[in-house]
Amino acid sequence: MKLVMAVIKPFKLDEVRESLTGLGVQGLTISEVKGFGRQKGQTEIYRGAEYSVNFLPKVKVEVAVSDEQVDAVVEAVQKAGNTGRIGDGKIFVMDLEKAVRIRTGESGEEAL
């Protein structure tokens, strides 16, 4: 199994989720993150003083998938998350040694 971790633009979340469920993915976990990268934040002015926001809001999507699914999942996220503009984010894939469903204790791919 693999753990796919994608950092995407927040407003792309619904599209990414839908494209994943379209592939039969049953679950995923998201969290709020901030990203620093090539995309730079707007310069803002507060009471006459300029400042720039270094970290931009992003959403992290984590989804555990079977080895067969992983390529399709990566592709789906890459497509759904794409706007073509800088700051679209990254997809990272890591090896997942074990997965357990807390409710039942099942492990392996059944747990996903």
């Binding site: 002015i45 009471r47 006459g48 003083a49 300029e50």
Partner: protein, 437 residues
Amino acid sequence: MRSSTKFTTGAVAGLGMIGLTSPALAATDAETAFIFNSLSFLMHGFLVMWMAAGFAMLEAGLVRTKNTTMQCLKNIALYSTAGILFYLVGYNLMYMDVSGFIGSFAIWGADDPGITDAGFTEGDYASGSDWFFQMVFVAATASIVSGTVAERVKLWPFLIFCVFLTGIIYPIQGSWSWGGGWLSEMGFSDFAGSSIVHSVGGWAALAGAIVIGARKGKYTDDGKINPMPGANMPLATLGTFILWMGWFGFNGGSQLAMGTAADVAAIASIYINTNLAAAGGVIAAMILTQVLYKKVDLTMALNGALGGLVSITAEPLAPAPGLAIIIGAIGGVLVVFAVPLLDKLKIDDVVGAISVHLVAGVWGTLAVVLSGADIVAQVTGIVAIGAFTFIASLIVWLVLKMVIGVRIDEEGEEMGLDRAECGMEAYPEFGTGSQRM
């Protein structure tokens, strides 16, 4: 009570009052006038009291979350302190037997000889109503200071400063003008306190900001200014609306009478001018920030409202409404320029109180010249009040700094005054609060 102010600046109304009592056919009787005058103090007094909440909300909205509990605490504490001190010392120092430069040291006590068991015989207003109205003014002065020195001053030293400010400094300079002292004799005119209340608060705040220093990280060594945005804009907006509402009391009540038709008509004019000056300040600040920064800065619009209000406070009665709009708009413009200027001088004023209360306060006091005041008297008043308040405040702040320290240590500033001094988060479930999960 502010007797001499009345004669100096409220001349038309004052004369009116004297004249009006003669035509017997339609005139208000003396007891009715007594009630109206007292009612004006009371009603306008509770509006000014409400400004304490306005300052609290404005400041709570403009500090960062980690200092919000403390800002709330300071505001309710300073309002409490001001009342007690004005009772113990302040009122009599300001208004009783003023020799020219100072009144007398004594606890205040109500004195209404005209009300006896046999009924009302004579009097202008209930002495307690006047005390109440004057008391809420001194609290405003202290509120101004708390905004400037927020996010780094320790609680108790700040409150001790407030004791001196509200018990000694404010009353002494107030005795010179409203107390009937030398400034009032000179013809200095400050109807509701652009200088006497607002710039005094501003000078005390400036002294504090200098002695305490800027917040850690606000100004970098390479001359950069590092904004620390306020945490809660609707709260700051609410605070401004509260202050605006309270200002009808602040200026309207400073007519000091409501017992004649002329007085109530004057109060109506004051309400109108107060409102329009604030409106002028808002619109001016909005347009200016749009032009300067291509965005409209809400906090500047709010400060603009307050700048307009402070500007009209020295003479809210005489100007025509159109002039009031202009006076207020200039106040708003001054604030928008003063805020970054102070930052350039590395004077760290968290909520813009110096720009609003000192800068617009000076402007407002000068603007009375447009309504016929003597420029020499006005400048003398501005300088004398400013010099005395600034120096006296500086001394108190410096002594406090030496004796007990005025500033929280670095670690406490980093973690925020709320945890360091109150042990209590303002929003424990929001942001990085401890109670979220």
